[in-house]
Amino acid sequence: MRDVIILGGGVTGCSIARELSRYRLDILVIEKNSDVCEGTSKANSGIVHAGYDAHPGTLKAKLNVLGNEKMEALAGELDFPFRRNGSLVLCFEESGRETLQRLYDQGIANGVKGLEILEGDTVRALEPEVSEDVVAALHAPTGGIVCPFLLTIAMAENAAVNGVEFQLNTEVTDIRETEGAYEVLTDKGSERAKVVINAAGVHADVFHNRVAGREELKIIPRKGEYLLMDKNVGTLVSHTLFQLPTKLGKGVLVTPTVHGNLLAGPTAVEIPDGENTATTAEGLSDVQKRAALSVKALPTRQVITSFTGVRAHEQKGDFVIGAMEGHPGFFDAAGIESPGLTCAPAIGELLAGQVAEYLKAEKKPDFEPRRKGIPNMALVSYEERQKLIADNPLYGNVICRCELVTEGEIVDAIHRPVGATTLDGVKRRTRAGMGRCQSGFCSPKVVEILARELGVDPAQIRKNNPGSEFLTGYIKDGI
């Protein structure tokens, strides 16, 4: 019997896994998809929120400020891209000042540092492309941007190095509580553990309610659509630009990404199906229209891709974190929607502490807190490039020309702990295929490298989950 099973390999599950790997415990993460970071964690704004949005006293408020504070040190320890670029909440009408002040007060109550309300001209002096219609803005210098993929993957890799086992492509079908332990049934068999941690994102209510024996949680999936623009317009703004909530609902943001693209979105639409990640014509045009309010000119001709994320909104509005009453050993990390990415490091620490206490676990003296990322040839200096190629000539072979990703980086991504097995896996770890041609040129080469390194036929290489194979066979097969 294992000590802990974590349901879900998203940013929350991976953070909990990494924090728990500090202890002498036998831990398994079960993930339905073919990689970690495949659900809500992969499709969001990539924002490290300052922490003024949530009502004081809520878990969201508390963990946001804490998560924000932890992010910088964690980025250093686990070597993932993070930048404190600051954020601005733009107010377009005099009548909005009251709400702006309310956000400010809320932020102060939550312990957000450095908040200030700026007048329109000051905002434009700080951020020249901001719309002339802006009358004032809330400036939060602690706001930041992070790579949601590499944050999640870095935590997963580090957890794996510290002994956590990851079982991917495995769907949990049922959970049974038996004699102070839990049996987790999957499509691949079953596993028993003393503790089950529910970090199942949009499906967290299903597992919670199954164990509770009644409907206690209800996750309402909320879809958000985004537009990603080319790096050549990535410096249009340097801050993350939010909008004041208006009668049209929560406004969309315009932000640089930590990799240098420009991102606009999301919409917010409640949907019945938590797996519905399709974009819609209405949604994308809505993002364009609303994002255009924030800046003088939104470079929509520079859009290189669009995507949809689904947020796991719990109907009561706050995160559900901790032990479930009456069911010892079952812990939730449910309803993790925005600012969940920001909170992930804090959620991991909080829940790992509770679980360790429950299991009376001891800390491992040999815990390895550091993880080194894949060298990024696009970013390193000429001399570093020289050195990398000298050590391993594969770093001289450029595979993705848009993002300057080399064969060396891709091979590294495949052979790491919890390594890439799919095109999307390679893409999220190295950015191969994430540029302006959107993998047109590099995908055949990445397929070839994946097949070679994994020792399989190229026809078995998938975009992500089973069924997403890239190739359907040989030519003339159908004749």
Partner: protein, 430 residues
């Protein structure tokens, strides 16, 4: 490393430029090619129809490339394969090329002149803003062409094609011949972006319907494409509700336009045309950065490789001339003070752009070919070229289409008499 001339790209443009430059006396030159063989995208274009103008015979893409590769070999033109140029910058008179390869590592080449011949890329699904899921099974036509013709693999079995660009039309036939079912080609515009001969030979001959004024409005399938929904569009190119038809299929190919790849040119500060996405060049195919020339699809997207070769040969010759002048005067030749006196060419009323964008009559040969594209279909139209009130040229055309590049020849004698800095307007007069 120093070089007189570095040619970035070993496709048809780079090869022709290199051959012409060598013939014009450039000894110290080097071609840098990112692929593992010369020939560029021609290597995957195994259909015939290449070379009718240049060689007066019908060749396949690889055969056409081979003619130039052989010439380059005979002229002992050096080249480096599997080599990516990752940076291009100006340092005084030097053009510094940073290149990288598995074999040679990373290194810099200080070049006196550079020919840009990097080609183009295909517009992707994201740039087209097509809504729906993002499953496997959505490929640009060129990527699918590579899978089929280079790797011998099928990217799908049941295919819908969006966009009637030439590669899309070619792939409609190719996929059919390899055993796939191509259901239709949908084209947003009321006209095709491809050559007439390709519509006849690749669609009509195989009973593949071409749906003009249609676009993809939805893609279904979480892991792999399961269906594509196509709707008719109105005159503003907006889908008309109620006209949707869902096509069950496993593959969507995109052939929705090509974009010159000028990221390197941008790093060097080469001014680009907002219309073509390619560098603005003068009659010598020299860009706004002296000693830097451009040709082929990196300059503007061509339909026929023959014209690429012709244009690239001229660019190579001009690079050679630039180097000769440079050694004679031991100072910067090229776009000197005469640039300001250059005649400026502009398209209007249906003519989208011209290549070149400027002409210095004192630098031009006796005649100059001007290439351009129109923005819509025209019948029985006249192309008029004028400078102020003076009509320089007027040509009747039965048919003009956006998918077919047009050309006219201007005479030095006509241009010499124009005041310096005059504007020459190309337009359609019906």
């Amino acid at each position: 490393m120093t070089k007189d001339l570095v040619i970035i790209g070993g496709g048809p443009a780079g090869l022709a430029a290199a051959v012409a430059a060598r013939k014009a006396g450039v000894q110290d030159l080097l071609i840098l090619e990112r692929d593992n063989r010369l020939g560029g995208i021609l290597n995957q274009c195994i259909h015939n129809g290449f070379g009718l103008h240049t060689f007066k015979e019908e060749l396949t893409g690889p055969e056409y490339a081979e003619r130039f590769i052989r010439q380059a070999a005979e002229l002992q033109i050096p080249y480096k394969l599997s080599t990516m140029v990752v940076d291009l910058r100006a340092e005084g008179p030097d053009r510094v090329v940073t290149a990288m390869s598995r074999k040679d590592g990373i290194y810099e080449i200080r070049a006196k002149s550079v020919v840009l011949a990097m080609g183009c890329r295909e517009r992707s699904r994201g740039a087209l803003n097509i809504p729906g899921y993002r499953p496997a099974g959505i490929y640009t036509a060129g990527t699918a062409q590579r899978y089929v013709n280079i790797e011998g693999r099928m990217p799908g079995r049941s295919v819908v094609i969006l966009g009637s660009g030439d590669i899309g039309l070619i792939m409609a036939r190719r996929m059919t011949l390899e055993g796939a079912k191509v259901q239709c080609v949908a084209e947003l515009q009321p006209y095709s972006g491809g050559l007439k001969r390709n519509i006849a030979q690749c669609l009509n001959d195989f009973d593949i319907p071409l749906l003009l004024s249609h676009t993809v409005v939805d893609i279904k399938g979480k892991e792999r494409v399961e269906s594509v929904t196509i709707a008719e569009v109105d005159e503003h190119l907006k889908p008309i509700p109620g006209t949707e038809t869902e096509y069950p299929c496993d593959t969507l190919l995109l052939s929705c336009g090509l974009l010159p790849e000028n990221e390197l040119s941008g790093k060097l500060g080469v001014p680009l045309s907002p219309i073509t996405g390619g560098p603005l060049v003068n009659e010598s195919f020299e860009t706004g950065v002296s000693g830097v020339f451009a040709c082929g699809n990196v300059l503007h997207v061509h339909d026929l490789v023959d014209y690429v070769s012709e244009e690239a040969s001229a660019a190579g010759e001009q690079a050679a001339k630039y180097l000769t002048e440079l050694s004679e005067t031991s100072q910067n030749a090229g776009q000197d003070a005469s640039a300001e006196k250059a005649l400026r060419l502009r398209g209007q009323n249906g003519v989208r752009y011209t290549v070149p964008a400027t002409i210095r009559p004192d630098h031009m040969a006796d005649t100059q070919v001007i290439r351009f594209r129109v923005g819509a279909n025209f019948r029985d139209a006249t192309i008029r070229v004028s400078a102020g009130d003076q009509v320089l040229l007027s040509r009747k055309k039965n048919v003009l289409a956006p998918g077919e590049m047009e050309q006219l020849v201007l005479k030095k004698a006509d241009l010499e008499q124009l005041p310096a800095g005059s504007e020459i307007v190309f337009e359609i007069a019906q």
